[in-house]
């Protein structure tokens, strides 16, 4: 038993940490963020695009996209343990990108069979992919949204919400479902049947409603048969939830570090506010809770890497991390006083982004609802 980061995990943290170094992080946190109320027509500036692409290229060159892809298929041959560290580091930097979606796409493509080597190579080589799985009013991608399939013409129509970075990715991983199972396809973002419209969210980020109108799938189109696709999707979602939990833990840590530093510097009543017990104890409790959530994430990643059933652990890790991220970011704005709400302060960015990321792969209440029957099975009579 060794409950500390392994050599490989430490190496991942150090490598990615160089990219997200303390001087660059304040820039990364605001990269591409829109103004309040920017609305549907607000593309990022050319400079912002260049900056985002530069970071993306750097991460691609480090091989991060293929972290858990076997070496003989062009990846690093590592696992969820290393991806968790990557995700935590990204969360602390508030780095928003299609990276986690792209990693999920790579895993999914592998889970669909061995016929997709070309796609896998493209993805691992840096082709960004965004998941397009959430149907209208149903923001839970674990159960993919509906689709309107014209089997005769081999075309489909569907609407998908909360697709991140739609204009900036090479592919949209469309997932639909009906009674027969799942319908997954890698649709090129420049497909004539694809249109999008930005959704102005509290995170002021890059979320899009995407319409797939008469998109042609073609013989090679669906990545797997409906039954296999449904199973593959379910399995890949478990790992995606672990990574999202890791991102949220990192986000909470990043926010907390901000709050702690502020508490050491800000003075009132002749001393740093961190000297007072109320804020200090709040930060102490938050620190312990973040460590607790981090261990849940790492345990789930460890189970996944061993090939054990990690579903209950993933659901518990994600629901815990989601609640935690919202609580901690709320506390960190509070400890900053009014400054925490100002546009110039990162505390309010953490707070707003946490609100989105906490429900990104399922509402915590939903996650716990799914977990209950799994827990029930574990409870001895």
């Amino acid at each position: 038993m060794r409950i500390r980061l392994s050599e490989q995990q430490l190496a991942m943290r150090e490598t990615v940490g160089k990219l997200f170094d303390p001087d660059l992080v304040p820039v990364i946190r605001r990269m591409g963020a829109r103004a309040l109320g920017a609305g549907p027509d607000s593309p990022p500036t050319a400079e912002e695009q260049q900056a985002r692409q530069a970071v993306w290229r750097a991460l691609t060159e480090l091989g991060t996209l293929g972290t858990a892809v076997p070496e003989d298929r062009g990846g690093l041959g590592q696992g969820q343990a290393e991806l968790a560290v990557l995700a935590e580091t990204m969360g602390a930097a508030l780095y928003r990108s299609p990276l986690l979606d792209t990693v999920t796409a790579a895993e999914f493509v592998m889970a669909c069979g061995n016929d997709h080597d070309a796609y896998l190579a493209e993805i691992v080589g840096g082709a960004p992919v965004a998941l397009a799985a959430r149907g209208r009013q149903q923001a839970d991608p674990v159960t993919a949204g509906a689709l309107d399939l014209d089997r005769a013409a081999d075309r489909f129509r569907a609407e998908r919400h909360f697709v991140c970075f739609a204009p900036d990715v090479d592919y949209l991983l469309f997932v639909g479902s009906d009674e027969a199972g799942g319908y997954p396809a890698l649709v090129r973002s420049d497909d004539p049947g694809v249109t999008w419209r930005r959704q102005d969210d509290i995170g002021r980020g890059d979320l899009y409603r995407v319409r797939f109108d008469g998109v042609h799938v073609g013989a090679a189109g669906w990545l797997a048969s409906p039954g296999r696709a449904a199973t593959a999707w379910h399995g890949v979602m478990v790992n995606a939830q672990i990574r999202q939990a890791a991102y949220l833990v990192g986000l909470a840590r990043g926010a907390l570090d901000l709050g702690i530093r502020y508490a050491r510097e800000r003075r009132q009543f002749g001393q740093p506010i961190g000297r007072f017990q109320a804020p200090a104890f709040r930060m102490a409790a938050a620190t312990a809770s973040v460590d607790a959530a981090s261990l849940l994430v790492h345990h789930a990643a460890w189970q996944a890497d061993r090939g054990d059933d990690a579903e209950l652990s993933a659901l518990e890790a994600l629901s815990t991390a989601a609640d935690l991220a919202r609580q901690v970011t709320t506390d960190v704005v509070q400890i900053h006083g009014a400054v925490g709400m100002t546009e110039g302060c990162d505390a309010q960015i953490f707070y707003r982004v946490a609100a989105v990321d906490a429900v990104w792969l399922g509402r915590p209440t939903e996650l716990r609802r799914r977990a209950a029957p799994l827990l029930r099975r574990q409870v001895a009579a």
């Binding site: 038993m1 060794r2 804020p279 200090a280 261990l295 790492h298 815990t320």
Partner: protein, 386 residues
């Protein structure tokens, strides 16, 4: 990270479980479930059986009655004792606290004298720190050791210790030298408990374990009774604290309590009811997290790394969690859960929930209050509060 134990450690766990499921152990556990009010477990026969196997202090050197295994095996034993309902407190205080201090700072003579009977389960020990005016602020203690020839006579009153009424000897912090620097001048003594100079009375409280009110009335001690150096007891106490504070026993108790509540919730259908399932899943996640926090401390100790901050986190998290669990237990059990084990009639009703609820408030106070734990995290961990 690696969350699995080594095969030989899993094997030890299996052996311990096998012993704890023996009929004779089951009989003892059953009897202890139904002690009359204000009667509590002391030095158990079970400890003697464990002592015969050298498992009671499995991580002590063989010359003192252990097997020379490590803190991991020691922790496995504690976890399984708790999981199987064997009262553990006398064991923990005697072996994991008092025995540990003796191993860390005792002379060879002291170790050879005090350790073997503890490891055999033939004797027990307790700890005398708190006083009427002194809890968390231990360095303000008033118990004094007045010089008397080549030794001292101890005078003072120690309260709120547990299991002192059963103890053959106790570790006692007393002031040997007045000093402007309060933490200097404190000495840790080994006090024989069964002598006329030591009187132990119970302070009844709401839990099933009495606090002890111990009066030291001139008991005479010599240099042989001093642990570590004279006047440097504070340093000894603080050196040992992060080693004994793993949070392990508290997370094991939290797990056991939640497991019972989950079983009840499963039988009643509440685990299938989203209104209850939400909170139960949340608590289950936190119990697992508390287990990992404790084993993180143990894993560090096994590699000879001491971290007072991770230890404080683990103790704080597990004990506060235990209280949240017992509180929610009444949501699951309703009024039936408030009935004690002395209700008469149903032999299966041992009032486990209401007893746990009475125990809970004590664990966020003993072995370092939650406030002190947060203080440690904030100061040593986060460099706040200074």
């Amino acid at each position: 990270m690696e969350f699995a134990l080594a095969p030989e450690q899993e094997e030890f766990r299996r052996e311990v479980c096998s012993f704890l499921t023996e009929k004779r152990v089951g009989k003892v556990v059953e009897e202890l479930r139904h002690l009359p009010p204000r009667k509590e477990p002391g030095l158990l026969e079970v400890y003697g059986w464990l002592g015969e196997k050298r498992w009671l202090a499995v991580n002590w050197p063989p010359e003192y009655g252990g097997l020379g295994r490590g803190i991991v095996e020691k922790s496995i034993l504690t976890e399984e004792l708790i999981r199987h309902g064997v009262p553990d407190l006398v064991h923990i205080v005697s072996i994991d606290i008092v025995g540990l201090i003796l191993l860390m700072v005792g002379t060879r003579e002291q170790q050879a004298r005090y350790l073997p009977p503890l490891a055999l389960g033939a004797q027990s020990a307790s700890v005398l720190y708190s006083e009427p005016g002194v809890g968390s602020d231990l360095s303000s203690l008033r118990t004094r050791a007045e010089p008397d020839g080549d030794g001292w006579r101890l005078y003072g009153r120690k309260i709120y210790s547990l299991k002192s009424q059963f103890a053959d000897f106790a570790l006692c912090a007393a002031r040997t030298t007045e000093s402007e620097v309060r933490i200097h001048g404190i000495t840790l003594f080994v006090v024989p408990m069964r002598t006329p100079g030591v009187v132990c009375k119970p302070i009844w409280n709401m839990s099933d374990e009495a606090f002890c009110d111990v009066t030291l009335d001139g008991i005479r001690l010599t240099r042989d009774h001093v642990l570590g150096e004279v006047d440097e007891g504070w340093e000894v106490i603080n050196r040992v604290l992060p080693v004994e504070r793993t949070g392990l026993e508290f997370q094991a108790k939290a797990r056991r309590l939640l497991d019972r509540i989950l079983r009840q919730a499963r039988e009643s259908g509440q685990l299938d009811d989203p209104a209850y399932a939400q909170r139960l899943v949340e608590l289950h996640a936190q119990v697992r997290a508390s287990q990992f926090l404790a084993w993180r401390v143990i894993s560090e100790l096994a590699e000879d790394r001491l971290d007072g901050v991770t230890a404080a986190m683990s103790k704080w998290y597990a004990t506060e969690l235990f209280k949240r669990i017992s509180t929610f237990g009444f949501d699951v059990a309703g009024l039936d859960g408030t009935l004690s084990g002395w209700n008469g009639g149903d032999p299966d009703a041992d009032g486990w929930l209401e007893a746990a609820h009475r125990e809970g408030p004590g664990i966020t106070l003993s072995a370092g209050t939650s406030e002190i734990m947060q203080y440690l995290i904030a100061s040593s961990g986060l460099q706040l509060m200074s």
